[in-house]
Symmetry: C2
Subunit: 213 residues, 2 copies
Amino acid sequence: MLSVALSKGKMFDDSVQLLRRAGLLHRELVAESRQLAVEDGPFRFILARARDVPTYVEYGAAQLGMVGKDVLLESPDSGVAELLDLGFGYCRFVLAGPPQARGWEARSGKLRVATKFPRMTEEFLARRGKSAQIIVLHGSVELAPALGLADLIVDLVSTGRTLRENGLVELESLAEATARLVANPVSFRLRAREVATAVAALRTALGREGDGR
Amino acid sequence: MLSVALSKGKMFDDSVQLLRRAGLLHRELVAESRQLAVEDGPFRFILARARDVPTYVEYGAAQLGMVGKDVLLESPDSGVAELLDLGFGYCRFVLAGPPQARGWEARSGKLRVATKFPRMTEEFLARRGKSAQIIVLHGSVELAPALGLADLIVDLVSTGRTLRENGLVELESLAEATARLVANPVSFRLRAREVATAVAALRTALGREGDGR
């Protein structure tokens, strides 16, 4: 049996649709279900938090996984192999702040930046040669400037609506991300045929036969 | 205005009831609301993820906070002062595994332990002189043994129902936790009167006038 870890987050519906189109999934999968491991023919689907998908794949509890590039960028040492860009789940990492934060690079004094993504934030600030205090939050980062917790935020946006609703403007775009198919490098070799068959079916469903991605 | 950060998690209802009993809260507070900062008289209540409460307090965006001791134990360097044990929100950190994991300490070979609490887990294993690979997960830790991801888990339990439903048994109890009132040490001095008045009201509502806690 081949185990596939799926992110229960915003890209769940697109992942399920792709698996159906590829003929790999026939049963019902519900993200809010209490049943978090579902067997279907030769596959077992594991419904996981987005950030846990690389962990399941890294430790071999899943041979394949579908997860956003944003998650992979924030935990680059997970040791999973990226096989395919799945196209859906587009989002961007942005630096944002209140309108008066424009020109932030010229400001003197220590900046505070709130984010769920300390690694991306640190890397970005280092590239710019700016030092700042990074404040790690786990939710509602967009509130941090209004609550006096931070001057700026680094967050993921898709439409930008959350920024606008909180009176924030985008200052910089750091990186773009889409969903990826990832594999455990060992099972990619040891169970090559099974993995290759599944990957080929997904590639066909994406309309990308033979394009080498 | 005094800001109070509240955890939106399982202790939210008890926190709100205590604030009402203490006469500090008169407005409606709903954990699922999109409005995450609510002003009420001389107070502003910030509805935050449990793990973010110490952060709001540490950086002075809130002068007071209500949060589980479990969160404080996992991030002991947050630099907040613990003022009161609020009594509610009881839970325990436990080591658990499938029934055949009994006698785990005698097992040879490297153990894998899955948890959301790497610091507590590491400390516990060090006390026992055991080495293990700690696998950090962000959700559904109780599935890890059945999915072949880990031999054991360290997790928070209140009734133990989730363990039973997943065929796991408790092997060790690591620590107990209840909700705490925490304060920013600086505002505790600079805004001593406001903070002391609020703390006294909470202490009275807890029936603990003058017991020195």
